[in-house]
């Protein structure tokens, strides 16, 4: 029974967050535009040689997702704080982890939608030839996004309520995400070029291990972070 109540709470929070985003649209549009802008800047820095562009496509894509994603995570709490709604959310009966799960799922949907746009633009701008193994690339994208979003949602719960939140979140988040970035970038790149060194399997395992470890750790730690 209790678990079913938690599922309902999570669904309510996801729905609330997504509705807010859907009605304002400004948040999603600006974050997705920033992601695209990052790709253009990377293209200018690396191009116009098409071999170099193809070579750097995976790295540029992941960095664009990371830079734009950080804005989404802080926003997710900022909207609550501006409306004075976070206290009310915490006062509702039920487990605190349900709040984290709700925010995490909402951010996951938000960033995945942004990723669709960024990947589409990236394929065009970086002249990527989509290989027949593209479903595997989609899988890696989702695993990578899960790692970024779980830690991002967790650290934003602190940074959004501190001074200097704009600088604090990337400062805390980026070094922590280096294993995710390395694994996602190398696996994506390897698949784009046909996995000649047969290395994708190992990186996918590392990515999955990272996701599981930090999902569990952030769920436990969220209680301590949100109550003060």
């Amino acid at each position: 029974m209790a678990f079913r109540d938690d599922v309902r709470r999570i669904r309510a929070i996801v729905w609330k967050d997504l509705t807010t985003e859907r009605r304002s649209k400004a948040g999603f549009n600006s974050v997705a535009s920033l992601g695209v802008t990052m790709l253009v800047l990377f293209g200018l820095a690396l191009g116009p040689d098409s071999v170099a562009l193809k070579d750097a496509a995976a790295g540029a894509l992941w960095l664009a997702v990371l830079f734009a994603g950080v804005l989404a995570f802080n926003r997710s709490y900022q909207v609550e704080l501006d409306g004075g709604a976070l206290e009310a959310l915490l006062l509702y009966p039920g487990s605190r982890w349900a709040i984290f799960a709700g925010k995490l799922i909402a951010n996951l949907i938000f960033v995945t939608l942004m990723l669709v746009i960024v990947v589409g633009v990236g394929i065009v701008l970086f002249q990527v030839v989509v290989p027949p193994t593209w479903p595997a690339i989609v899988g890696i994208l989702l695993l990578g996004v899960l790692g970024i979003v779980s830690l991002g949602t967790f650290y934003a719960a602190m940074s959004s309520r501190s001074r200097a939140r704009e600088v604090l979140l990337p400062l805390l988040l980026y070094p922590m995400l280096i294993p995710v970035l390395l694994a996602s970038m190398i696996a994506t790149k390897a698949l784009l070029f046909g996995d000649l060194m047969n290395e994708v399997g190992a990186w996918v395992r590392m990515l999955s291990a990272f996701d599981v470890i930090f999902l569990v750790a952030t769920f436990f730690a969220f209680e301590y972070v949100i109550e003060v």
């Binding site: 602190m158 604090l168 280096i178 390395l182 930090f214 730690a221």
Partner: protein
């Protein structure tokens, strides 16, 4: 705020710590002199080899300090004892300094030996990432005023950072080994090993003393904060 243990608000007594500090410092000087005088010049590196006696111990105490951060952070979350939080913060500061020192000394060694200041070697890269993780930890502490909030947030960040250390190490190693095989650490002959172990011991004692000094300072700051708060609330009988 912290409701328990009024004694945690009092500044700590120095006790035997000044003597401990003096002994560790003298031991450190002795270890350095001993190691430099007793070790012959290396065939390949010449006297650059002497860098080991500061670089390797600095790397060791970096890990020791971050281990203390992890243990103190867990203790703080379980027991809510403010002193554990202050100890974690002190160890993180000292550890970051030694981590930076390890990187700088490594660069000074790398320039004449490898010909470059920096190489994207697995060990260098993961030490740099470790440094950045704890810079984030210290930044978080400096941006949060409320002691309870600062304690719980930085404990969570400290624990997550420590969990990530082996994962970062593995990922960076894989990233490197795909491109180039790592060099094996050469076996040490005893005349080098003696000096090295001696200096590791000396650095450990010095680090414990540094952390203790920083911890005392943190306790004084905290005691001053609590006294100011008490005065502001008009409670003058304590």
């Amino acid at each position: 705020m912290f409701p328990d243990s009024s004694k945690s608000f009092d500044p700590p007594k120095p006790g035997l710590w000044p003597a401990f500090g003096l002994v560790s410092f003298l031991f450190f000087v002795f270890s350095q002199v001993f190691a430099v005088l007793t070790s012959p010049a290396d065939l390949m590196m010449g006297h650059m080899q002497k860098m080991w006696y500061v670089h390797v111990p600095a790397a060791w105490v970096t890990f020791l300090s971050f281990g203390i951060v992890l243990v103190a952070s867990i203790y703080f979350l379980v027991k809510e004892d403010e002193r554990a939080d202050l100890l974690a913060a002190s160890a993180a500061e000292v550890g970051s300094v030694f981590c930076g020192l390890t990187l700088m000394l490594g660069m000074l060694w790398g320039r004449p030996t490898w010909g470059v200041w920096w190489s994207w070697d697995a060990r260098l890269t993961s030490t740099l990432v470790l440094f950045l993780i704890y810079v984030g930890y210290l930044a978080l502490r400096s941006f949060v005023e409320d002691p309870q909030r600062r304690g719980q947030w930085s404990a969570a960040v400290g624990i997550l950072g420590a969990i990530n250390v082996p994962i970062v190490w593995m990922s960076v190693r894989w990233w490197r080994t795909l491109h180039q095989l790592q060099t094996n650490p050469r076996s040490l002959s005893p005349e080098y090993l003696r000096g090295l172990l001696l200096n590791v011991a000396a650095f450990t004692l010095l680090t414990i003393w540094f952390i203790r000094r920083r911890y005392e300072a943190a306790r004084f700051e905290s005691a001053a904060e609590h006294a100011a708060q008490k005065a502001a609330l008009g409670d003058n009988d304590g």
